[in-house]
Every structure is written in structure tokens, then in C-alpha cells.
């Protein structure tokens, strides 16, 4: 069996997982919110693209609109819930985003029902042959974009003043606020950026897989697995994690006898990583309780 097509498909999907993971990671590091609604935001963006293209809008405009909608939804949630979330622990922050995921899923199911749709980006029509595997331009875009976003984020975090503020917030919120960082502005920027990234990845995933509300919402699972592999810190390891999970899922689906278990790959990988991470952890217990 020629496994190359599966590897290529896995790398492509995996790169979008990684791309999406970067959005989750940036938001988590800056605001402390692990956004379980990241996939749902992407799903909404993709459905908006589908809808506006149906309404005969220019595809490029439609895509821009979808990405903007993703950023807007995330920003809105950040604006409304952010001040409350700043006061609760990380677990509650994450739980609150489960609420957002439910709301978005409900809206999508209400407006568009759960029929599977497809969007076909223009770039997917151009394809060529690489060692027996068909590769289209969208897939190249996925791979390139993931790499670009990882490098771009690293550079932005290092060299822009907003990036410096984000890193300051990630290491110590109180201190950052004391030295005069506009915490709310930085957090809102993180929400909008991560929402836009969610929108891009949602549209790409909808093109590569299928445009279905619940399916896209729960693509947060492999994305979270990628972030777990990145230990919630490393952008590069998140990229590696995303690619590994994508390829892993794709290869498992290559064999009919085990293909049904391919969605269990993120769970298995994340569990193994958590186990390994545990073993390395020194037994320290926070003694002071608030």
C-alpha cells in the first residue's frame, strides 16, 4: 500500500490543527483562558463563508468576512465575559468557554441545521502530482500558513510592543498591570487575534474535511491535543504536535480494520504526553491556600 497520500493528507490537516493551536495558545498564555469554543468560532466563520458565497458574494470577500466574523465573535466574548473571567480560576475560565461553544453550536444548528455541506475554495481546484499523491494549492496554503503563523507569532511576540505586553501578561499579570501595561487592551487583542486564527483554520478545515457544525466544533479536540504536546507553552512543539496528530489520524484511517478508531488518536497521544509530563514533574504541592 502506498502510504504517501495518507502522510500528505495528514500533514495538511495536522498543519491546520497546529495553526488553530497557535490561536488557542496565544489566548491561553495572555488571558489564562483555554478556549474550548475555538472550534465553534471556526465553524461559524466557515458557515458564514458558505452562506455569503451562496448569496453570490466574491469568494475572497466572503473569506475576509468569515475571518472578521471569527475575530468579532471572540472579541465580543472577551469584552463581555473577560472582566468576570479575570476573577475566577483557570478551570472556571475554561468551563465558561464551553458555554460559548454551546451557544455557537446552537446558533449554527438553528440557522443552518446539521446537514453536511461542502465549501470548495478556488485554490482547491488547482492540483498537481507529488510522488503519486495529489496535492492541491489549498493544501500548500495550509502547510505554508501554519509555518508562517508560528514564525510570525514568535517574531511578533519578540519584536512588537504588543507582543512584549502579551509576554509580560503571560509571566505575571499583576506585575504587568503595575508597570503600566494596558491589560484590557492586550487581552482584547489576544481575543481578536485568536478569533481570526480560529476563523482561518475553520475555513481551511471545512474545505479539507466537511462543513458540519458539531464536527467543526469538536475539532477543538485534536487542536487541544496539539497544545498539550506543546505543554501549553511552546509554539514549535504545538506545530510538531499538530502535524503528528494529523499524520497519526490519517495513517490509522488507512487501514479499514482500525479506521474507526482514528478519532481516538488525539486522546491517546494527549494521554501519553500527560503521563510523561507527570513523571517529570517534581512532587511539589502549593502549601498556601488563598
Amino acid at each position: 500500500m502506498n502510504l504517501l497520500p495518507f502522510v500528505v493528507a495528514g500533514l495538511v490537516i495536522g498543519s491546520v490543527y497546529a495553526l488553530s493551536g497557535v490561536g488557542v495558545l496565544v489566548l491561553y498564555r495572555t488571558t489564562g483562558v483555554l478556549n474550548f469554543a475555538h472550534g465553534a468560532v471556526g465553524g461559524l466563520a466557515a458557515l458564514l463563508v458558505w452562506q455569503t458565497v451562496e448569496l453570490r458574494l466574491q469568494p475572497a470577500v466572503a473569506i475576509a468576512l468569515g475571518i472578521a466574523a471569527g475575530a468579532a465573535v471572540a472579541l465580543l466574548f472577551g469584552l463581555v465575559a473577560g472582566p468576570y473571567l479575570a476573577r475566577v480560576d483557570q478551570l472556571r475560565k475554561a468551563i465558561a468557554t464551553l458555554g460559548l461553544a454551546l451557544v455557537l453550536l446552537g446558533v449554527m444548528l438553528f440557522v443552518w441545521n446539521d446537514k453536511a455541506r461542502t465549501i470548495r475554495l478556488e485554490t482547491s481546484r488547482i492540483s498537481f502530482d507529488v510522488g503519486g499523491a495529489r496535492v492541491n494549492v489549498t493544501q500548500l496554503v495550509c502547510l505554508g500558513l501554519a509555518l508562517l503563523v508560528v514564525v510570525g507569532t514568535l517574531l511578533a511576540l519578540r519584536y512588537t510592543s504588543m507582543g512584549t505586553s502579551m509576554r509580560a501578561l503571560a509571566s505575571d499579570r499583576e506585575l504587568a498591570a503595575v508597570v503600566g501595561t494596558n491589560v484590557r487592551l492586550v487581552e482584547n487583542t489576544a481575543w481578536a487575534t485568536s478569533g481570526a486564527i480560529a476563523g482561518v483554520s475553520g475555513i481551511l478545515l471545512a474545505d479539507q474535511t466537511r462543513l458540519e457544525p458539531a464536527f467543526l466544533t469538536f475539532l477543538i479536540i485534536p487542536v487541544l491535543a496539539a497544545v498539550v504536546i506543546g505543554r501549553f507553552v511552546s509554539l514549535w512543539l504545538t506545530l510538531v504536535g499538530g502535524l503528528a496528530i494529523g499524520v497519526g489520524q490519517s495513517l490509522v484511517s488507512a487501514w479499514p480494520t482500525v479506521s474507526a478508531f482514528s478519532t481516538a488518536v488525539p486522546f491517546v497521544v494527549a494521554t501519553v504526553v500527560i503521563l510523561v509530563a507527570t513523571r517529570r514533574r517534581v512532587v511539589t504541592v502549593g502549601v498556601v491556600r488563598a
Binding site: 483555554l34 474550548f36 465575559a81 468576570y84 473571567l85 475566577v88 483557570q90 478551570l91 472556571r92 475554561a94 468551563i95 465558561a96 464551553l98 458555554g99 460559548l100 461553544a101 454551546l102 451557544v103 455557537l104 453550536l105 446552537g106 446558533v107 444548528l109 438553528f110 458539531a214 466544533t217 469538536f218 477543538i220 479536540i221 487541544l224 491535543a225 498539550v228 474507526a260 478508531f261 478519532t263 481516538a264 488525539p266 486522546f267 494527549a270 494521554t271 500527560i274 503521563l275 509530563a277 507527570t278 514533574r281 504541592v285 502549593g286 502549601v287 491556600r289
Partner: protein, 353 residues
């Protein structure tokens, strides 16, 4: 000495509210079917399923409210319980009660295996892992289906063979009887759970919730006791799966989607995770609300929107949920009693059922 202890035990608010809850629960379970309008048809069947999901909700509630653990895979575990029930029944034809206990044990084992690695890390990793399990179980259940009397491990009939349906328990054949049967099982399980919360495991869980360091220095093996909690709540959820399987004798994979697990978690937080009354409310919201929306002609999917907003509100502003607010209301409305210094004081607490 023992009588003094017993008197002090009965004087505690939580004990009395538990007894009140027990009484109300039993009365509801036995009387509800004979009420006009409820007595038959869709309404009763809906209430039956609501009561069943109250058990799954209780599992979520105990984990979150008593230990601060987030489990988003509970509907997946209901499916595991249901699958085990059908599988064991078709293989052995044992009485339903025996099958139900065995299915609860299987579900407990699955819950423990899943939670074991995640429990050593922060609470966030258990949330992540259980969400992944919810996703994986949805696919597995869709792939494997539920046993319906066929051959092989999966027990699916194929070709033109007719599916075999598991009969209802002998004591609950008709819809009325089955509702009472479910009601009694649910009340008994909730009472057992309540009792567990008041004795050594419950005390230990409270100490763990308060602080890891304090708990360890008391000599508590925190990992072992968290696993115990997972085992207990998973077993309770397995009972829900068994009852659900008994309800129609056959199960449909589409009822066990990952988003249902998220939805159940939301209903429990909205209802109130700190008391079992909140769990019962959670069960009602989870299954009753979509049915209600459907009957008044609204899209059932709006439930996601309503409960999602409710979840955000519960997390940010009302951590004790509706049950907590009811409890506060009850305390406000109740005339203050003169203090009786000769007796042990009655601590005021959330209303607990």
C-alpha cells in the same frame, strides 16, 4: 453516648434536608403516574428519561461540586453503561437488577481507566482528557452500535434477522410501573450517594477540595480518593445507562453525541453542582427542556443557546446554581428561630437533598 451522637446527627441541616428529599423523591416517584395529565403517554415517558439523566447529572455534580473535577464525558459513560447492559443481557439473560449492577461495575472501571492518568495533573487536564474521551466514545459507539441480539463481541444482528429487544424489568412492565421502578432506583441511588457524602469518603473529598496540601498532611491519599470518586460517579452513570437501555430495550448511537456531554455538564452547573437537588434540576433541563421546546413548536437546538448562556452566567456570577439560589431564598423566607443553646447548633447550609 450513641444517642447523643444520633441526636446531633439528626439535628444537622444536611441530614434533615436529605430525609426531606428522600420523602419527596419517593412520593413523587410513586404518585406522579396517577396524576391526571401526567399519567400516560409522552409526558410520563419524558419524565422517566429525565429521572434517569438525573443520575448522570448527579455524577457530574458530585465530581465538580465536591471535588472540583470537571468531567465532560458523562453521556459517553451513559452509553458505556447502556452498551454493557445490552451486551450482558444478550449473553446471559440474567435478571435486569443483576445486569444493572454488573453494567455499573463495567462503567466504573472505564471511568477509572480514563481518569487515572489525568488525575495526577491539574484539573484542566482532566477536563481536556474527558472531552477527548467524549469525542472518541461518540465515534466508537457509532461504529460499534448497541448489541441487539446478534453474534460476536459487538452483538449486532445483520442481514434480514430481526433485532432482539431487551425486555423491561419484571417489576416495571408498563409505562406507569416502569416510571415507578426508575423513580425508586433513582431515589435509592441518590440516597446512597448522599450517605457517601456524609461519611468518610465525603469528608475526605471535602478536605481534598479545600486544599491538596492540607489533605495530604492529614494523611489522605488524594489520588486514590479522587479515583474512588470517579469510580462511584461512573458507576452511578452506568446505572443511568442500564435504565435507559431498559426503557426501550434498544439504544440508538445518535443519542450519545459528544455535545450532549457538554450540555449535561452545563445543566448541572446551572442547576447547582453543590447539591443533589441541582442534579435533579439538571436532568430535567437536559432532557425535559428540548422536549418542551419541541412541543411548543420551537427548534430544540435553541437549548444549546439557552444552556450555553446559562453556563457562562453560572460560572461567572452564580457558582451555587439555581439550587443554591433556592436555598438562599428558603433561608430568607424562613422566620428566624430563637437560638437554643442547650442543643448542638444547626449549621445553615445549602439545601441538600
Amino acid at each position: 453516648m450513641n444517642r447523643v451522637l444520633l441526636a446531633a446527627f439528626l439535628a444537622r441541616a444536611e441530614v434533615r434536608s436529605a430525609l426531606v428529599g428522600l420523602a419527596i423523591g419517593l412520593v413523587l416517584a410513586l404518585v406522579l403516574p396517577s396524576l391526571p395529565g401526567v399519567g400516560s403517554g409522552l409526558a410520563l415517558r419524558t419524565l422517566t428519561v429525565c429521572a434517569i439523566y438525573a443520575l448522570a447529572a448527579a455524577g457530574v455534580g458530585v465530581l465538580y461540586g465536591r471535588l472540583g473535577l470537571v468531567s465532560i464525558m458523562q453521556i459517553g459513560l451513559v452509553a458505556v453503561g447502556g452498551w454493557a447492559t445490552l451486551r450482558i443481557y444478550h449473553a446471559t439473560h440474567l435478571p435486569f437488577e443483576v445486569v444493572m449492577v454488573l453494567a455499573a461495575l463495567v462503567t466504573a472501571a472505564v471511568g477509572v481507566i480514563v481518569g487515572l492518568p489525568a488525575l495526577r495533573l491539574s484539573g484542566l487536564s482532566l477536563a481536556i482528557v474527558t472531552l477527548m474521551v467524549a469525542g472518541a466514545l461518540e465515534v466508537l459507539v457509532t461504529y460499534a452500535g448497541f448489541p441487539n441480539g446478534g453474534d460476536g463481541f459487538l452483538g449486532r444482528v445483520s442481514g434480514g434477522t430481526l433485532a432482539v429487544i431487551m425486555p423491561r424489568p419484571a417489576l416495571g412492565q408498563s409505562d406507569d410501573e416502569f416510571f415507578r421502578y426508575v423513580g425508586v432506583v433513582v431515589v435509592v441511588v441518590l440516597v446512597l450517594l448522599r450517605w457517601l457524602l456524609m461519611v468518610r469518603p465525603g469528608r475526605t473529598w471535602a478536605a481534598i477540595r479545600q486544599g491538596e496540601a492540607g489533605a495530604v498532611s492529614l494523611g489522605i491519599n488524594t489520588v486514590a480518593h479522587r479515583l474512588l470518586a470517579l469510580a462511584v460517579t461512573s458507576a452511578v452513570t452506568g446505572v443511568a445507562g442500564a435504565l435507559l437501555a431498559a426503557s426501550s430495550g434498544i439504544l440508538d448511537p445518535t443519542s450519545f453525541k459528544a455535545q450532549q456531554s457538554v450540555l449535561l455538564f452545563a445543566t448541572v452547573l446551572i442547576g447547582g453542582a453543590f447539591s443533589l437537588l441541582g442534579a435533579v434540576l439538571g436532568g430535567l433541563f437536559f432532557y425535559g427542556l428540548p422536549q418542551l421546546l419541541n412541543t411548543v413548536g420551537l427548534d430544540g437546538n435553541l437549548v444549546f443557546v439557552v444552556l450555553g448562556l446559562g453556563l457562562v452566567q453560572a460560572v461567572t456570577t452564580a457558582p451555587a446554581g439555581i439550587a443554591g439560589q433556592l436555598g438562599a431564598l428558603w433561608r430568607r423566607l424562613r422566620p428566624p428561630r430563637p437560638p437554643r443553646p442547650s442543643r448542638p447548633s444547626r449549621p445553615s447550609r445549602e439545601v441538600t437533598v
